[in-house]
């Protein structure tokens, strides 16, 4: 269905060529405007900020960046977007904010901008944007309210989006004849074999700290093992056989992981891998370039990259950030031009070459990028299986996510019975959903 949306956008932009041709320079009308944008402190946005001077040079539009830690950014946006007139012309939003902002009618629907021949770049090629990212980060109002569907619309463009891949120690795996994990069985076997054959080294470093981190780690395994948080009628099914298997997988990984694994956040887990305390690390691609940086990594040149292993299906995560235009922005059209420029083929490649995460298939196929970042090919391949439904992006997700994370942390640290623990989550989740009105029509 989303293909249809993208085709429509491409068609509209093509139709815009005619009227657009009347202007020699589409940016001329907006030259001299100063845009205020809100970006997170994140490697992708650090990379994006390096290319902003090029945008100003090309368009005459100035850009001021208010860069904040991403949780702080969300807090600030929550206050800012509720005003009649906001300070920001363009915002980056973390994926789980999409539901909140769209539900509160705080983000511009982008259709009218892509319909505007003065603004829409005919060469934008929206079909080249990575489907899983657009579905997860950009679209709202369709199937389940957060996925593409006949009633869905586009509210943001993925920018700084991420999927999951497996980083593993090629040298250790070769030394002990362990195959590169392509399935979950192989992954779990390797995770517990490594500590046996390499004393002092954990199998896989994973997030496991209480709250969001443990929830993220559990969901990372739930989708490929065939599970979902909800079925299509919003019944919590997190406690079915796939849920139990995913929790068992996480417990196995943590039990066979490096010391202190139960309190790891993503940085600690990445650090454990980068310092040789673990033989595998499976998480967002955003962490992977750091393993090839001699200043941050002791395993440079020893790391192999593989796709997120297959359970009953492939299903790597989708997440990270998108950019959107606040409803209360002052310079919406100029903001759209910046958004379009940053996510164009040229902009995406420029940001990627500076160390950002590509949002386009074509960027991953670029020879220059592959030469500079040898792991880019694997990332591009993994994106074909990026699962936009691995985590439900609904307004009450924050509360459910926290409950899953706390319960998983208790499973890992207090040896709770997994089935009982997940039954509890399902029951509480149903109550939250009921309270939010999800069963009104049943």
């Amino acid at each position: 269905m989303f293909k249809g949306l993208k085709t429509t956008a491409v068609g509209l932009t093509t139709a815009a060529i005619m009227a657009g041709a009347a202007y020699a320079n589409p940016y001329e009308e907006y030259a001299g405007t100063t845009l205020i944008v809100n970006f997170p402190a994140h490697p992708h946005y650090n990379a994006a900020m390096k290319v902003l001077p090029e945008f100003t040079k090309e368009t005459g539009i100035e850009v001021e960046v208010d860069q904040l830690p991403y949780l702080k950014m969300r807090e600030r946006q929550t206050l800012e977007l509720a005003q009649d007139e906001g300070e920001y012309d363009l915002i980056s939003y973390v994926v789980f904010s999409k539901a909140d902002y769209v539900f509160a009618d705080q983000l511009e629907n982008l259709a009218k901008y892509f319909m505007n021949p003065k603004l829409a770049d005919p060469n934008y090629d929206a079909g080249d944007l990575i489907d899983g990212y657009v579905e997860n980060i950009g679209v709202a109002g369709g199937f389940k309210g957060y996925l593409p569907g006949p009633t869905g619309s586009l509210f943001g463009i993925p920018f700084g989006s991420e999927t999951s891949v497996l980083a593993y120690r090629k040298d250790i795996f070769e030394k002990h004849g362990i195959p590169t994990p392509e399935t979950y069985d192989q992954l779990l076997d390797a995770a517990c074999k490594i500590p046996e054959v390499e004393p002092g080294m954990g199998g896989m470093a994973s997030r496991a700290a209480s709250g969001h981190q443990a929830s993220h780690a559990f969901l990372l395994h739930l989708a490929p093992l065939g599970g979902r948080v909800f079925d299509d009628a919003w019944n919590p099914i997190i406690n079915n056989a796939a849920g139990v298997e995913a929790a068992n997988a996480l417990k196995t990984i943590v039990d066979c992981g490096p010391e202190g694994a139960m309190s790891f956040g993503p940085s600690e887990a990445a650090n454990a891998f980068a310092t040789g305390q673990a033989a595998m690390f499976m998480d967002s691609i955003a962490f992977m370039p750091g393993f090839e940086d001699p200043e941050r990594s002791q395993v440079v040149g020893k790391v192999g990259y593989a796709m997120h292993p297959e359970g009953v299906r492939r299903g790597s995560q989708t997440g990270g950030f998108g950019i959107g235009i606040p409803k209360n922005a002052e310079n919406k059209e100029a903001a759209f031009l910046l958004m379009q420029w940053l996510t164009s083929k040229k902009g995406d490649l420029m940001v990627a070459m500076e160390g950002g995460n590509p949002s386009r298939f074509s960027t991953y196929q670029d020879a220059g990028l592959n030469e500079k970042y040898p792991f880019a090919a694997t990332f591009g391949e993994a994106l074909k299986f990026a699962d936009p439904d691995w985590r439900p992006i609904i307004p009450v997700w924050g509360k459910i996510n926290a409950d899953i994370g706390t319960t998983m942390s208790k499973v890992l640290t207090e040896d709770l019975d997994i089935q009982e623990a997940l039954d509890g989550v399902a029951e509480r989740t149903r109550a939250v959903m009921d309270d939010a009105g999800y069963y009104t029509w049943q």
Binding site: L81, A209, S263
Partner: protein, 303 residues
């Protein structure tokens, strides 16, 4: 008659503007929070747009096992940090209340931890507790003892230790000030009467310091109930809910769960709890002050 009345009213008239401003500045936000706690309120709405739900948020919390668990963690955390900090802080003050060379440098060193930003303290202790490269486990390695999962199995103890490190100096500095303002004549008299150092501490110094110590303990207690950043950085409230104190749960409820009404109700529960503790401690303080006054009078009579 009129002059007498005017004389009585004049001080109140002068005080009135400041009192009104203070009342508005203090009461308006408090009233806002109380009003918000009766509403199904999220950050995308103004308080006026939020639906009025009566006591729903309070009843929900009353039945919420996670809230009870957080409350239990908060009480345990506050009890241990205040008790241990009081013992160590007052002990150090008694030890360092003497005129020896370099004592001022030593006193300054002791109060350094409380000058450090809580987030930095959290980060510092988080890395010292690191399972493999942290200071504590390296030390255990060096003496051949097994490593400890500080922020896993012993998370609450670990955050209590960090808080004690940072805030014992606060007790120390106030205790030392109280100690140095004690009437020297009383201590002199006790010494002449042959009281040992220990007897002076138990029978003279501590009873006379008690009013200050109670206020000090109260201030720490209030602060311990609201500590947030250090725990957030060190454990994020985990494992499970083992270090999720109420302030952290309130913050999460407001920002992650976007339930401002529930967060406001939780804040009000915390406020009521702190008010009860404060009233209790002030009553105890009044009793101690009267006791100290009687002791003072007795000492003055004897000297």
């Amino acid at each position: 008659m009129r002059t007498a009345m005017a004389n009585r009213l004049t001080p109140y008239m002068f005080m009135a503007p400041a009192a009104i401003i203070m009342a508005i500045a203090l009461m308006y936000p408090l009233g806002y929070m109380v009003w918000g706690s009766f509403r199904d309120w999220n950050p995308s709405q103004t308080i006026g747009e939020a639906e009025f739900v009566g006591l729903k948020n309070y009843i929900f919390l009353w039945n919420d096992p996670n809230f009870h668990e957080s409350l239990g963690v908060t009480l345990r955390f506050a009890f241990f940090v205040v008790t241990i900090e009081m013992i160590i802080g007052v002990g150090l003050a008694l030890l360092l209340d003497r005129e020896i060379r370099g004592i001022s440098v030593l006193r300054t060193m002791f109060i350094l931890p409380m000058m450090i930003a809580p987030v930095v303290v959290g980060l510092m202790w988080r890395y010292m507790y690191h399972p493999t490269v942290g200071t504590f486990n390296r030390f255990l390695d060096s003496i051949g003892l097994p490593r400890v999962d500080w922020l896993g199995d012993y998370a609450l103890t670990s955050v209590i230790i960090a808080d004690i490190w940072q805030w014992t100096p606060f007790i120390f500095i106030l205790s030392l000030a109280a100690l140095q303002s004690l009437p020297r004549s009383a201590l002199e008299a006790a010494r002449i009467d042959g009281a040992t150092g220990w007897q002076q501490i138990i029978h003279i110094k501590l009873p006379l310091m008690m009013p200050v110590l109670i206020v000090t303990a109260l201030l720490r207690l209030i602060d311990a109930f609201k500590v947030l950043e250090v725990i957030l950085v060190m454990t994020e409230g985990g494992p499970g809910l083992s270090t999720e104190i109420l302030a952290l749960r309130i913050s999460r409820t407001a920002t992650e769960f976007r339930e401002l009404g529930v967060a406001a109700a939780m804040s009000n529960y915390l406020l009521i709890l702190l008010l009860l503790l404060t009233v209790g401690m002030f009553a105890f303080n009044r009793w101690q002050e009267a006791r100290a006054a009687r002791l003072n009078a007795l000492v003055e009579e004897e000297s």
